[in-house]
Symmetry: C2
Subunit: 401 residues, 2 copies
Amino acid sequence: MPKVSFRGLAMPESPIRKLVPYAEIAKRRGLEVLHLNIGQPDIETPLEARKAVNNYNESVFEYSHSAGNESYRKALAQYYNQISEGITFEHILVTTGGSEALSFAFTSCLNPDDEVIIPEPFYANYNSFAMASGINVVPIASSIKDGFALPSIDSFEEKITNKTKAILICNPGNPTGYLYSKSELQKLTQIVKKHDLFLFADEVYREFCYDDKEHYSLLNLSDIEENVVVIDSVSKRYSMCGVRIGAMISRNIQILQAALKLAQARLSPPLLGQIASEAALGVSSSYFEDVNKEYVQRRNVLVDGLNEIEGVFCPIPSGAFYAVAQLPVKDSEHFCQWILEHFEFEGSTVMMAPLAGFYSSPGMGQNEVRLAYVLEIEKLKKAIKCLREALEVYKLEFNTQ
Amino acid sequence: MPKVSFRGLAMPESPIRKLVPYAEIAKRRGLEVLHLNIGQPDIETPLEARKAVNNYNESVFEYSHSAGNESYRKALAQYYNQISEGITFEHILVTTGGSEALSFAFTSCLNPDDEVIIPEPFYANYNSFAMASGINVVPIASSIKDGFALPSIDSFEEKITNKTKAILICNPGNPTGYLYSKSELQKLTQIVKKHDLFLFADEVYREFCYDDKEHYSLLNLSDIEENVVVIDSVSKRYSMCGVRIGAMISRNIQILQAALKLAQARLSPPLLGQIASEAALGVSSSYFEDVNKEYVQRRNVLVDGLNEIEGVFCPIPSGAFYAVAQLPVKDSEHFCQWILEHFEFEGSTVMMAPLAGFYSSPGMGQNEVRLAYVLEIEKLKKAIKCLREALEVYKLEFNTQ
């Protein structure tokens, strides 16, 4: 029997999804599982998008253009123009989710064995895309103590070698919820310019910024226009993760041309998702205000509730819909599995994502978890109560303190 | 300005799509472009599939399971069980088109620099997926003279090195339309078993076999159950290329587990496409009979018409909806571009795919083209007339004979 490839063996399991079998055990035990593990919002997909799909009446579901339907790309150009003037549809490649946009960026810009520097903790699947592309992730630690602010420029300089080709950030961050300031991004600009690196930003949570803080897009950085590649997706923005539509945006036409060849190989991004996505661009201006109001309430309930639990520390995130919390446990993966397998509180248990898988450095994040506040407030309150009780029981059972 | 990667530069342009700018020139000249270049059928998407999408009424378009919706996988298992007993939903991973299934197969089974042997001409994008995965394609020439039958087993033996990990076939073939016989596949079995290779088959055209010939799936090969990986897609089967749904099927659970990690990284296949695909499985048994009747008529019109043109040779394909023709020209790419840019006949011109891009060996297929018979018969007849006239003019203009 022929063997699985090295990459197939080494590819990390998703830390977000690997506990799924234990959640299934909990469900078989008759429990309600409160899913704080995955960024699948419960917010309704905009009616405009759903109607567009329900009314789609072409008799053949055809391939679209490999770069995406031109009408969608032109509508997207208007959206990005509001962020940064001069973006045209030719700067935009429509992809199958943000995932594919990042894969295309890695493969178009980096050679095998090249290095990309990423502040950790970072979205765990970056590791998988890097491995599939044959490139190496070089992590720089950020710390829960300062809410995961951008590491110092010196610490970036220390990591740069002749293999370094790019820096990747997620802004606002998954899993941290941290929102980089304009001045942090300008510091990054200097180092990117000095070493002529690519600067990738995953901005899929762009619209989710709180407390009157504003998102500053990489598309607005001057001096390094051709170094910047923005990764985007409609999944979270319009609460329609299933449509699998993203985009890669850059003023560097050569990179887009290389990525287009990758796009041609896979023929086209999903047609029906593009129909939904184009329609979603027509949501009223109050849409994000309403959604953000809801997320802020949830965030406050979650973060306040967590910080009231003894031994728990959770910095307040300014964006996205995740929070990272430090728990009074030695091994959060063990705890996350245990709470699903062995604990219940008033008929419920909680599913969280252990944070170790969001670090590339071994041994980091052992007592941290990511929580997505994508549930309604009553469920979040229930989850916090459950977590508080569980930590009590766990402490007694495993003597963690 | 940072540079495009080597892969980004070397990645081949799609030979099927690279002439698109010239087709746009033809359209600007006011011409109707008869598209024989791309496998985008004009057959209607089954009403069942379209209705399922139009009636989909979940209020959130959520991620599906990374391996695909379980209900769809179970329905697919029934479909594959009719082909080969014992296939369960656990042998099936739902993918974003056949493209992703092949990418997953390459990455799960082969290490960088490993080799996959493919009879050429082959579907051009195999090259792109191989390059993106860092593996090497080793071609074995098949010949238009015998309709692109399987090359001899000796010629496979000659190509096998310690880097060879897999053989890939497309059955029935794109671009050749050749349908491998049971005995040809049994010969392949011997060599696969002897060298313990993976055997990949792209069977996306499985349902399109003509003249009472039957498709023999790799899933039915005994003795090498764990070596076999089948690549599938609903794109052509149900004339819904735009939904981007495929599948990877194997009895080798270790390979599926490795591929599942890749699938988890990209989160989920398209939701709406899965809704359409699951519904399409419910088409009546007469569906493929009707469609195949239509394709056989078109094939006969196209192939007979081509063979009546002086200097043209086109073997009769037994499956899929492509034909390869040898034209009386030196450089079919030049001819295909010229006919779009400079020729017209009764207000039309023809777009074809030059075959050189379907070969991996340089210099092969220079006078060959692929034609997809995905247009209605009247348009095919018009295309043949146009091609005949064009070849006359081209011969005079470029002295090709």
